[in-house]
Symmetry: C2
Subunit: 380 residues, 2 copies
């Protein structure tokens, strides 16, 4: 008989409940110990920088007049392109783009450096009744007849970055067929350019790009799009129709996030990462040998390596590998005050536990302390 692992988190609705439980834990830590004892290492801690004057202008029809114009300038500097559009989340931008440019039964072709794709792409394709094909290597890559959109993921949820030559080749092939190219550069717009010295997606020839303003920069949770004016106009109109655009407070926070952005935090994280890796290896001396892997800006524990590690110790034997990640993430939050993505993520996000050392809260945390906290979370 096949042995079936127990699944604690079975569907999207369970993921929402998990997120709600985490919020309760966060609230109790805040009340009992204070903000200092919470360490948001998601790399996603949404910033909200605002002056007194900014706040006075935050009204539906007055604020946007000011902030949208500023965002136009700063957004084009950050991403390139002819016009900018702020969306409620990167996922909303992906939905608005697919609703605007893709018709039923046509093909969406997606190239990404590693599976799986971000669920918002596959869900939006399904919603409009498009055919969806994805590739993670150039040998198989092809563009069928009746393709309406080509999507390239610059950097995955687990921070796997695309090779720039492949990026260019996919764009070349799309251009030959005159099919618009849309780059999901959620973290890539900074990761690729700052750590991998790659060009901006638009400068590589993409027609459209979206980035997450809370990923590796101190902006709000939200999406910033840029690209060809004609396409952005279409997408903007669709976004307004379905309520997918960013609201004035988020636009203000995007403006101030972009103003305060510099790549130093991201660059500094490399040194911190080396220190943390050494500490973790020394401390574990074999017992947790293979569970830690490097990411561009930190350390991660993947679903697979955690499950294997637990297996070798005969722990949580009948629990699914996703749930193992969720349980460890909850331990990290509850006992150590460390917030990682699986504890608080939206349905369908990656279960990988990442410690992003470019996070704002990492500035108040010694790597020695962090290594201890990570070890403790395995023992509780």
């Amino acid at each position: 008989m096949l042995k079936v692992d127990i699944m604690l988190i079975k569907n999207s609705q369970d993921e929402v409940k998990k997120r709600e439980s985490s919020f309760k834990i966060i609230k109790s830590i805040l009340n009992e110990k204070g903000r200092r004892d919470l360490y948001d290492l998601t790399g996603l801690s949404g910033g909200f920088i605002a002056s007194e004057n900014d706040l006075n202008l935050l009204e539906t029809y007055v604020g946007p007049a000011i902030f949208e114009e500023e965002l136009e300038t700063l957004g084009k500097e950050h991403l390139g392109g002819e016009k900018v559009l702020a969306v409620n989340r990167t996922s909303s931008g992906i939905l608005a783009t697919i609703l605007s440019l893709v018709c039923e039964n046509s093909y969406i072709i997606h190239y990404l450096p590693e599976f799986p794709a971000h669920p918002s792409i596959t869900r939006s394709a399904k919603l409009i009744g498009a055919n969806y094909i994805e590739f993670d290597n150039l040998d198989d890559f092809h563009i069928p007849e009746n393709t309406s959109l080509i999507i390239i993921t610059g950097s995955t949820m687990d921070h796997k970055v695309i090779d720039e030559d492949i990026f260019k080749e996919v764009i070349n092939r799309a251009k030959m067929r005159k099919i618009p190219v849309f780059v999901d550069d959620a973290s890539g717009a900074r990761l690729r350019t700052i750590l991998f010295n790659q060009k901006k997606a638009i400068d590589l020839g993409a027609d459209l790009v979206v980035t997450s303003t809370d990923k590796l920069m101190f902006g709000p949770r939200g999406g910033l799009m840029a690209g060809k004016k004609e396409l952005i106009n279409k997408i903007k109109s669709k976004a307004h129709q379905f309520g997918l655009e960013a609201q004035p407070p988020s636009i203000l926070a995007m403006v101030n996030g972009l103003k305060s952005f510099n790549g130093e935090n991201i660059k500094n994280s490399i040194e911190k990462k080396q220190e943390l890796i050494n500490l973790l290896n020394n401390k574990s001396s074999g017992t947790l040998g293979n569970v830690f892997e490097e990411t561009p800006t930190g350390v991660m524990i993947s679903e697979e390596s955690l499950k294997n590690e637990l297996k070798s110790h005969r722990l949580l034997d009948n629990i699914s590998s996703k749930d193992c990640c969720f349980l460890l993430a909850m331990n990290l939050l509850k006992n150590e005050g460390i917030i990682t993505i699986p504890a608080v993520s939206m349905p369908g996000a990656s279960p990988t536990i990442r410690f992003d050392l470019s996070s704002h809260d990492c500035e108040k945390l010694k790597m020695e302390t962090l290594a201890d906290k990570i070890f403790n979370s395995f023992n509780s």
Copy 2:
């Protein structure tokens, strides 16, 4: 030969451009004259009340832990229901609800006090491939086989309010068929209850309700939903999947908008309305006789009455009636600093020019001055 009116604003993309032009005018008034010379009389001026302490908590995973719990309490007080959900806009909430509860080829039945329906309902129905039927009277109203959702509009974009007995009857018929009832109470949640002494939608038996937190209250542009826990959980999960939920800054502003809400502004607007109507009638002494109509909280100029008025003066003869509204709204903004919805609205919104006297900015405006400004806008 048929005479065809010229259309200046032809489609959704033109509406986006119109909105962008208005933002530029607003910005230049702000820069040259200051905030005092702008009068946002849309009744939609999105509030953003926040303390220093609130702002420090505005981070993706920390802020929501606090604000969502507060919103749960305040939202249930305002709307009733078992659980609350904050969405990016009322339109996003309508989309999330239809995506969650309606399947392809099933029927959505919509009862509203007056046509036309809000475009987000018809667009969402079309997106999912549902059949959509709308009624504005009980005699024709019926519920076909295979109906998955019944929508009731509590108060239209032009503030036409439903009769409470009809409201109850539609809910009764839906209950007999065990079909969920979703109430679009964008402005109605306050207009119906405060000025018309009607009950909350949930107390009348609805399963779900959505309201706009910037309509007749000083909250941000956004939507607040409430209703049966099981349904809200489904919709919340769908909203998270497509990026339709409200972000932390909006949730904070909803919390503070609800805390500061009282119905006095809305009640006071009735007295102001009488004063304004008298002034307008005295001033016009026949010349603009039929162009002004009352709304529950102010005065409006409808597309039809404006066109008829202009016709009787042989003005703008070959311009479409919608464009006449847009032109008058642009005059009001540019020359008088008065912001009305047609100048800044999202695609598909009503072209009716409403002066909402419960608006925050109305406090700094004498009715005498407002009447002059309205008259001047016709002459420029």
